[in-house]
Symmetry: C2
Subunit: 199 residues, 2 copies
DNA sequence: TGGGTTTGGGACCAAAAAGTCAATAATTCA
DNA sequence: TGAATTATTGACTTTTTGGTCCCAAACCCA
Protein backbone atom coordinates (compact mmCIF):
# COMPACT_ATOMS: atom_id res chain seq x y z
CA UNK A 1 0.00 0.00 0.00
CA UNK A 2 1.48 3.19 -1.27
CA UNK A 3 5.12 4.17 -1.41
CA UNK A 4 7.31 1.98 0.77
CA UNK A 5 9.81 3.41 3.21
CA UNK A 6 13.25 3.64 1.68
CA UNK A 7 15.23 3.14 4.87
CA UNK A 8 15.15 0.47 7.51
CA UNK A 9 13.59 1.76 10.69
CA UNK A 10 15.70 -0.38 12.97
CA UNK A 11 18.89 0.52 11.19
CA UNK A 12 17.99 4.19 11.51
CA UNK A 13 17.33 3.74 15.22
CA UNK A 14 20.65 2.01 15.68
CA UNK A 15 22.38 4.95 14.09
CA UNK A 16 20.36 7.35 16.21
CA UNK A 17 21.56 5.45 19.28
CA UNK A 18 25.11 6.30 18.31
CA UNK A 19 24.34 9.97 17.91
CA UNK A 20 22.45 10.31 21.18
CA UNK A 21 25.09 8.25 22.93
CA UNK A 22 27.87 10.46 21.66
CA UNK A 23 26.18 13.81 22.16
CA UNK A 24 23.46 13.35 24.76
CA UNK A 25 19.81 14.21 24.38
CA UNK A 26 20.15 17.97 24.46
CA UNK A 27 23.43 17.93 22.61
CA UNK A 28 22.18 15.92 19.67
CA UNK A 29 20.83 18.46 17.20
CA UNK A 30 18.52 17.55 14.37
CA UNK A 31 21.25 17.91 11.72
CA UNK A 32 23.46 15.57 13.78
CA UNK A 33 20.73 12.99 13.83
CA UNK A 34 19.89 13.50 10.17
CA UNK A 35 23.51 13.07 9.15
CA UNK A 36 24.01 10.09 11.41
CA UNK A 37 20.84 8.37 10.32
CA UNK A 38 21.23 9.22 6.68
CA UNK A 39 17.67 10.44 6.20
CA UNK A 40 16.03 13.78 5.58
CA UNK A 41 14.20 15.94 8.07
CA UNK A 42 10.73 15.18 6.83
CA UNK A 43 11.37 11.46 6.88
CA UNK A 44 12.44 11.58 10.48
CA UNK A 45 9.36 13.46 11.56
CA UNK A 46 7.08 11.23 9.52
CA UNK A 47 8.62 8.07 10.88
CA UNK A 48 9.19 9.03 14.49
CA UNK A 49 6.99 12.01 15.32
CA UNK A 50 9.52 14.23 17.03
CA UNK A 51 12.89 14.24 18.73
CA UNK A 52 11.62 13.02 22.06
CA UNK A 53 9.68 10.13 20.57
CA UNK A 54 12.77 9.17 18.61
CA UNK A 55 14.78 9.23 21.81
CA UNK A 56 12.26 6.94 23.47
CA UNK A 57 12.65 4.49 20.60
CA UNK A 58 16.40 4.82 21.00
CA UNK A 59 16.20 4.06 24.70
CA UNK A 60 14.01 1.06 23.98
CA UNK A 61 16.55 -0.21 21.51
CA UNK A 62 19.36 0.36 23.97
CA UNK A 63 17.34 -1.59 26.49
CA UNK A 64 16.87 -4.47 24.10
CA UNK A 65 20.49 -4.63 23.10
CA UNK A 66 22.90 -3.14 25.62
CA UNK A 67 20.94 -3.57 28.82
CA UNK A 68 19.74 -6.97 27.71
CA UNK A 69 23.35 -7.92 27.06
CA UNK A 70 24.34 -7.00 30.58
CA UNK A 71 21.32 -8.79 31.99
CA UNK A 72 22.17 -11.89 30.00
CA UNK A 73 25.71 -11.82 31.27
CA UNK A 74 24.48 -11.56 34.85
CA UNK A 75 21.87 -14.28 34.57
CA UNK A 76 23.54 -16.80 32.29
CA UNK A 77 23.92 -19.95 34.34
CA UNK A 78 26.43 -21.37 31.93
CA UNK A 79 28.70 -19.70 34.41
CA UNK A 80 27.32 -21.18 37.63
CA UNK A 81 29.10 -18.74 39.94
CA UNK A 82 27.09 -15.54 40.02
CA UNK A 83 29.99 -13.73 41.57
CA UNK A 84 32.09 -14.47 38.53
CA UNK A 85 29.29 -13.27 36.31
CA UNK A 86 29.26 -9.97 38.15
CA UNK A 87 33.03 -9.70 37.91
CA UNK A 88 32.77 -10.39 34.21
CA UNK A 89 30.30 -7.55 33.73
CA UNK A 90 32.57 -5.11 35.49
CA UNK A 91 35.48 -6.40 33.45
CA UNK A 92 33.54 -5.71 30.30
CA UNK A 93 33.24 -2.07 31.26
CA UNK A 94 37.00 -1.80 31.63
CA UNK A 95 37.47 -3.62 28.38
CA UNK A 96 35.28 -1.11 26.57
CA UNK A 97 37.30 1.77 27.95
CA UNK A 98 40.53 0.03 27.02
CA UNK A 99 39.19 -0.07 23.50
CA UNK A 100 38.80 3.66 23.55
CA UNK A 101 35.11 3.84 24.37
CA UNK A 102 34.61 6.78 26.70
CA UNK A 103 30.95 7.36 25.94
CA UNK A 104 29.83 5.79 29.17
CA UNK A 105 26.41 4.22 29.14
CA UNK A 106 23.45 5.76 27.37
CA UNK A 107 21.09 4.78 30.16
CA UNK A 108 23.38 6.21 32.83
CA UNK A 109 23.99 9.40 30.92
CA UNK A 110 20.27 9.84 30.43
CA UNK A 111 19.67 9.17 34.11
CA UNK A 112 22.09 11.88 35.15
CA UNK A 113 20.92 14.40 32.59
CA UNK A 114 17.94 16.69 32.56
CA UNK A 115 16.19 14.33 30.16
CA UNK A 116 15.40 12.03 33.09
CA UNK A 117 13.13 14.69 34.51
CA UNK A 118 10.78 14.20 31.63
CA UNK A 119 8.14 11.78 32.93
CA UNK A 120 8.14 9.53 29.86
CA UNK A 121 11.90 9.32 29.60
CA UNK A 122 12.32 9.00 33.34
CA UNK A 123 9.97 6.04 33.42
CA UNK A 124 11.90 4.18 30.77
CA UNK A 125 15.24 4.91 32.41
CA UNK A 126 13.95 3.77 35.78
CA UNK A 127 12.66 0.52 34.37
CA UNK A 128 16.00 -0.20 32.71
CA UNK A 129 17.83 0.47 35.95
CA UNK A 130 15.41 -1.78 37.76
CA UNK A 131 16.13 -4.52 35.25
CA UNK A 132 19.81 -4.19 36.00
CA UNK A 133 19.13 -4.47 39.70
CA UNK A 134 17.02 -7.57 39.15
CA UNK A 135 19.83 -9.16 37.19
CA UNK A 136 22.37 -8.33 39.87
CA UNK A 137 20.06 -9.92 42.42
CA UNK A 138 19.81 -13.05 40.30
CA UNK A 139 23.58 -13.24 40.05
CA UNK A 140 23.93 -12.75 43.78
CA UNK A 141 21.60 -15.67 44.42
CA UNK A 142 24.15 -17.79 42.59
CA UNK A 143 27.11 -16.35 44.44
CA UNK A 144 28.91 -17.44 47.55
CA UNK A 145 28.39 -14.12 49.23
CA UNK A 146 24.80 -13.66 48.14
CA UNK A 147 23.74 -17.04 49.38
CA UNK A 148 24.74 -16.09 52.88
CA UNK A 149 22.52 -13.07 52.74
CA UNK A 150 18.88 -12.82 53.67
CA UNK A 151 16.58 -11.90 50.84
CA UNK A 152 16.36 -8.30 52.00
CA UNK A 153 20.09 -7.89 52.35
CA UNK A 154 20.61 -9.45 48.96
CA UNK A 155 18.26 -6.98 47.37
CA UNK A 156 20.13 -4.19 49.06
CA UNK A 157 23.39 -5.55 47.74
CA UNK A 158 21.90 -5.69 44.25
CA UNK A 159 20.88 -2.05 44.50
CA UNK A 160 24.33 -1.18 45.62
CA UNK A 161 25.89 -3.06 42.72
CA UNK A 162 23.66 -1.12 40.37
CA UNK A 163 24.94 2.09 41.90
CA UNK A 164 28.50 0.86 41.46
CA UNK A 165 27.80 -0.02 37.87
CA UNK A 166 26.33 3.39 37.09
CA UNK A 167 29.08 5.18 38.97
CA UNK A 168 31.77 3.24 37.20
CA UNK A 169 30.38 4.10 33.81
CA UNK A 170 30.09 7.73 34.72
CA UNK A 171 33.67 7.78 35.96
CA UNK A 172 34.73 6.15 32.72
CA UNK A 173 33.01 8.89 30.81
CA UNK A 174 34.56 11.53 33.03
CA UNK A 175 37.98 10.33 31.96
CA UNK A 176 39.19 8.35 34.96
CA UNK A 177 42.36 6.41 34.15
CA UNK A 178 42.15 2.75 33.32
CA UNK A 179 44.05 1.94 36.48
CA UNK A 180 41.58 3.74 38.70
CA UNK A 181 38.65 2.19 36.88
CA UNK A 182 40.15 -1.24 37.17
CA UNK A 183 40.71 -0.72 40.87
CA UNK A 184 37.16 0.50 41.37
CA UNK A 185 35.71 -2.32 39.31
CA UNK A 186 37.59 -5.09 41.02
CA UNK A 187 36.81 -3.74 44.47
CA UNK A 188 33.15 -3.51 43.53
CA UNK A 189 33.04 -6.99 42.09
CA UNK A 190 34.87 -8.34 45.11
CA UNK A 191 31.73 -7.76 47.11
CA UNK A 192 30.04 -10.58 45.28
CA UNK A 193 32.66 -13.03 46.48
CA UNK A 194 33.34 -11.38 49.82
CA UNK A 195 31.93 -12.41 53.14
CA UNK A 196 30.81 -9.83 55.70
CA UNK A 197 32.47 -9.81 59.08
CA UNK A 198 30.63 -11.56 61.85
CA UNK A 199 30.62 -8.64 64.28
CA UNK B 1 38.13 53.35 40.14
CA UNK B 2 34.98 53.96 38.18
CA UNK B 3 31.51 52.62 38.76
CA UNK B 4 31.34 49.79 41.25
CA UNK B 5 29.56 46.53 40.56
CA UNK B 6 26.02 46.55 41.87
CA UNK B 7 25.73 42.85 42.59
CA UNK B 8 27.84 40.51 44.62
CA UNK B 9 29.86 38.21 42.42
CA UNK B 10 29.77 35.30 44.86
CA UNK B 11 26.06 35.64 45.43
CA UNK B 12 25.53 35.63 41.69
CA UNK B 13 27.64 32.51 41.35
CA UNK B 14 25.70 30.80 44.09
CA UNK B 15 22.50 31.50 42.24
CA UNK B 16 24.05 30.30 39.01
CA UNK B 17 24.95 27.07 40.77
CA UNK B 18 21.26 26.53 41.44
CA UNK B 19 20.33 27.11 37.83
CA UNK B 20 23.02 24.84 36.38
CA UNK B 21 22.25 22.24 38.99
CA UNK B 22 18.58 22.26 38.17
CA UNK B 23 18.88 22.37 34.40
CA UNK B 24 22.31 21.07 33.49
CA UNK B 25 24.92 22.85 31.41
CA UNK B 26 23.19 22.55 28.06
CA UNK B 27 19.75 22.95 29.55
CA UNK B 28 20.51 26.20 31.32
CA UNK B 29 19.74 28.92 28.81
CA UNK B 30 20.97 32.47 29.17
CA UNK B 31 17.56 33.81 30.19
CA UNK B 32 17.34 31.10 32.87
CA UNK B 33 20.68 32.21 34.26
CA UNK B 34 19.80 35.88 33.99
CA UNK B 35 16.53 35.38 35.84
CA UNK B 36 18.11 33.18 38.45
CA UNK B 37 21.04 35.48 39.05
CA UNK B 38 18.99 38.65 38.89
CA UNK B 39 21.34 40.48 36.57
CA UNK B 40 21.21 41.63 32.97
CA UNK B 41 22.84 40.07 29.98
CA UNK B 42 25.54 42.67 29.63
CA UNK B 43 26.49 42.37 33.26
CA UNK B 44 26.89 38.64 33.03
CA UNK B 45 29.15 38.82 30.03
CA UNK B 46 31.13 41.66 31.51
CA UNK B 47 31.62 39.88 34.80
CA UNK B 48 32.14 36.30 33.63
CA UNK B 49 33.13 36.35 29.98
CA UNK B 50 30.80 33.71 28.62
CA UNK B 51 28.61 30.81 29.60
CA UNK B 52 31.38 28.29 29.81
CA UNK B 53 33.59 30.49 31.95
CA UNK B 54 30.64 31.09 34.24
CA UNK B 55 30.12 27.35 34.48
CA UNK B 56 33.76 26.89 35.43
CA UNK B 57 33.30 29.42 38.21
CA UNK B 58 30.18 27.56 39.24
CA UNK B 59 32.03 24.27 39.36
CA UNK B 60 34.79 25.85 41.39
CA UNK B 61 32.22 27.16 43.83
CA UNK B 62 30.55 23.76 44.01
CA UNK B 63 33.95 22.30 44.71
CA UNK B 64 34.60 24.74 47.51
CA UNK B 65 31.22 24.23 49.12
CA UNK B 66 29.56 20.94 48.32
CA UNK B 67 32.57 18.78 47.56
CA UNK B 68 34.51 20.35 50.39
CA UNK B 69 31.60 19.55 52.69
CA UNK B 70 31.72 15.90 51.73
CA UNK B 71 35.49 15.84 52.07
CA UNK B 72 35.25 17.42 55.50
CA UNK B 73 32.73 14.85 56.58
CA UNK B 74 34.99 12.05 55.40
CA UNK B 75 38.15 13.39 56.96
CA UNK B 76 36.89 14.89 60.20
CA UNK B 77 38.56 12.92 62.97
CA UNK B 78 36.11 14.18 65.52
CA UNK B 79 34.46 10.96 64.50
CA UNK B 80 37.42 8.60 64.90
CA UNK B 81 35.82 5.71 63.02
CA UNK B 82 36.30 6.36 59.31
CA UNK B 83 33.70 3.73 58.53
CA UNK B 84 31.11 5.72 60.40
CA UNK B 85 32.16 8.84 58.55
CA UNK B 86 31.58 7.07 55.26
CA UNK B 87 28.23 5.81 56.44
CA UNK B 88 27.34 9.32 57.47
CA UNK B 89 28.12 10.68 54.02
CA UNK B 90 25.89 8.10 52.38
CA UNK B 91 23.20 8.85 54.91
CA UNK B 92 23.38 12.51 54.00
CA UNK B 93 22.56 11.65 50.40
CA UNK B 94 19.45 9.82 51.50
CA UNK B 95 18.54 12.66 53.78
CA UNK B 96 18.73 15.13 50.91
CA UNK B 97 16.41 12.99 48.83
CA UNK B 98 14.02 12.61 51.74
CA UNK B 99 13.87 16.39 51.82
CA UNK B 100 12.76 16.41 48.23
CA UNK B 101 16.09 17.09 46.59
CA UNK B 102 16.22 15.09 43.40
CA UNK B 103 18.79 17.18 41.59
CA UNK B 104 21.55 14.71 42.20
CA UNK B 105 25.04 16.13 42.36
CA UNK B 106 26.26 18.88 40.08
CA UNK B 107 29.68 17.29 39.74
CA UNK B 108 28.18 13.89 38.92
CA UNK B 109 25.70 15.33 36.47
CA UNK B 110 28.47 17.23 34.76
CA UNK B 111 30.61 14.11 34.66
CA UNK B 112 27.89 12.13 32.91
CA UNK B 113 26.94 14.88 30.51
CA UNK B 114 28.53 16.02 27.30
CA UNK B 115 30.04 18.97 29.16
CA UNK B 116 32.68 16.65 30.59
CA UNK B 117 34.09 16.19 27.10
CA UNK B 118 35.19 19.77 27.08
CA UNK B 119 38.84 19.69 28.17
CA UNK B 120 38.57 22.56 30.63
CA UNK B 121 35.40 21.32 32.25
CA UNK B 122 36.56 17.72 32.19
CA UNK B 123 39.73 18.64 34.02
CA UNK B 124 37.86 20.36 36.82
CA UNK B 125 35.37 17.53 37.16
CA UNK B 126 38.16 14.97 37.28
CA UNK B 127 39.99 16.83 39.96
CA UNK B 128 36.86 17.08 42.09
CA UNK B 129 36.26 13.36 41.73
CA UNK B 130 39.86 12.71 42.65
CA UNK B 131 39.39 14.79 45.76
CA UNK B 132 36.44 12.65 46.73
CA UNK B 133 38.50 9.53 46.24
CA UNK B 134 41.29 10.93 48.37
CA UNK B 135 38.83 11.66 51.14
CA UNK B 136 37.36 8.18 50.96
CA UNK B 137 40.87 6.80 51.22
CA UNK B 138 41.52 8.91 54.30
CA UNK B 139 38.34 7.66 55.90
CA UNK B 140 39.24 4.09 55.08
CA UNK B 141 42.58 4.49 56.81
CA UNK B 142 40.59 5.22 59.95
CA UNK B 143 38.23 2.30 59.49
CA UNK B 144 38.32 -1.24 60.71
CA UNK B 145 38.06 -2.66 57.24
CA UNK B 146 40.49 -0.25 55.65
CA UNK B 147 43.19 -0.87 58.18
CA UNK B 148 43.26 -4.52 57.21
CA UNK B 149 43.87 -3.58 53.63
CA UNK B 150 47.18 -3.02 51.94
CA UNK B 151 47.71 0.47 50.62
CA UNK B 152 46.91 -0.60 47.07
CA UNK B 153 43.73 -2.41 48.04
CA UNK B 154 42.65 0.55 50.12
CA UNK B 155 43.07 2.89 47.19
CA UNK B 156 41.02 0.52 45.10
CA UNK B 157 38.34 0.49 47.74
CA UNK B 158 38.34 4.27 47.78
CA UNK B 159 37.87 4.37 44.02
CA UNK B 160 35.03 1.95 44.36
CA UNK B 161 33.39 4.05 47.04
CA UNK B 162 33.63 7.05 44.75
CA UNK B 163 31.86 5.05 42.08
CA UNK B 164 29.19 4.08 44.59
CA UNK B 165 28.78 7.69 45.60
CA UNK B 166 28.39 8.88 42.04
CA UNK B 167 26.07 6.02 41.17
CA UNK B 168 23.92 6.65 44.18
CA UNK B 169 23.48 10.28 43.34
CA UNK B 170 22.64 9.47 39.76
CA UNK B 171 20.08 6.92 40.88
CA UNK B 172 18.61 9.52 43.21
CA UNK B 173 18.27 11.88 40.31
CA UNK B 174 16.76 9.17 38.16
CA UNK B 175 13.94 8.84 40.68
CA UNK B 176 14.82 5.64 42.54
CA UNK B 177 12.62 5.17 45.62
CA UNK B 178 13.93 6.12 49.01
CA UNK B 179 13.83 2.48 50.03
CA UNK B 180 16.01 1.39 47.17
CA UNK B 181 18.42 4.24 47.74
CA UNK B 182 18.61 3.48 51.41
CA UNK B 183 19.32 -0.15 50.65
CA UNK B 184 22.01 0.76 48.15
CA UNK B 185 23.57 3.29 50.48
CA UNK B 186 23.72 1.04 53.49
CA UNK B 187 25.11 -1.85 51.49
CA UNK B 188 27.75 0.45 50.04
CA UNK B 189 28.70 1.89 53.39
CA UNK B 190 28.79 -1.57 54.92
CA UNK B 191 31.96 -2.18 52.96
CA UNK B 192 33.80 0.23 55.15
CA UNK B 193 33.02 -1.84 58.20
CA UNK B 194 33.05 -5.21 56.52
CA UNK B 195 35.89 -7.67 56.44
CA UNK B 196 36.72 -9.59 53.28
CA UNK B 197 36.66 -13.35 53.37
CA UNK B 198 39.99 -15.06 53.79
CA UNK B 199 39.73 -17.30 50.74
C1' DT C 1 32.79 70.39 38.95
C1' DG C 2 34.35 67.68 35.19
C1' DG C 3 37.23 64.16 32.75
C1' DG C 4 38.20 59.31 32.85
C1' DT C 5 36.60 54.77 33.60
C1' DT C 6 33.80 51.01 34.51
C1' DT C 7 29.05 49.01 35.17
C1' DG C 8 24.00 48.33 34.01
C1' DG C 9 20.45 47.62 30.85
C1' DG C 10 18.48 46.06 26.97
C1' DA C 11 18.04 46.48 22.04
C1' DC C 12 20.14 44.03 18.62
C1' DC C 13 22.47 40.18 15.89
C1' DA C 14 23.64 36.00 13.46
C1' DA C 15 23.38 31.33 13.98
C1' DA C 16 21.01 27.35 15.26
C1' DA C 17 17.23 25.17 17.32
C1' DA C 18 12.88 22.15 16.52
C1' DG C 19 9.21 21.51 13.74
C1' DT C 20 5.96 22.23 9.33
C1' DC C 21 4.60 21.84 4.66
C1' DA C 22 3.76 21.55 -0.23
C1' DA C 23 5.48 19.58 -4.26
C1' DT C 24 7.27 15.34 -6.15
C1' DA C 25 8.15 10.42 -6.41
C1' DA C 26 7.12 5.61 -5.69
C1' DT C 27 4.16 2.15 -4.81
C1' DT C 28 -0.66 -0.82 -4.72
C1' DC C 29 -5.02 -1.85 -6.28
C1' DA C 30 -8.76 -1.69 -9.35
C1' DT D 1 -3.61 2.96 -17.05
C1' DG D 2 -5.12 5.88 -13.41
C1' DA D 3 -6.78 6.83 -8.76
C1' DA D 4 -5.41 6.51 -4.08
C1' DT D 5 -1.97 6.44 -0.73
C1' DT D 6 2.18 7.07 1.45
C1' DA D 7 7.29 8.45 1.56
C1' DT D 8 11.04 11.85 0.34
C1' DT D 9 12.86 16.13 0.09
C1' DG D 10 14.44 20.55 1.29
C1' DA D 11 12.87 25.09 1.62
C1' DC D 12 10.51 27.62 5.11
C1' DT D 13 8.89 29.39 9.72
C1' DT D 14 9.16 30.40 14.39
C1' DT D 15 11.52 30.45 18.48
C1' DT D 16 15.50 30.37 20.96
C1' DT D 17 20.26 30.22 21.29
C1' DG D 18 24.77 32.50 22.89
C1' DG D 19 26.97 36.73 22.29
C1' DT D 20 27.78 41.94 21.05
C1' DC D 21 27.30 46.77 21.50
C1' DC D 22 25.96 51.29 22.64
C1' DC D 23 24.22 54.62 25.68
C1' DA D 24 23.13 56.14 30.08
C1' DA D 25 24.42 55.90 34.91
C1' DA D 26 27.57 55.76 38.74
C1' DC D 27 31.73 56.10 40.71
C1' DC D 28 36.98 58.09 41.55
C1' DC D 29 40.24 61.53 41.42
C1' DA D 30 41.94 65.95 40.47
Amino acid sequence: MARPREFDIDEAIEKAVEVFWAKGYDGAALPDLLDGMGIARGSLYKAFGDKKKLFLRVLKHYDEVAVAGAVDLLTDRQEPDGGKRIARLFDSIIEAVRNGDRRGCLMCNAAAGPASEDPDIGKVVSSMLARMTGAFAAALRDSEHGQQLASEARKAEAESLTASYVGLRVLAKAGASIDRLRAAASAAAARAVTVPAQT
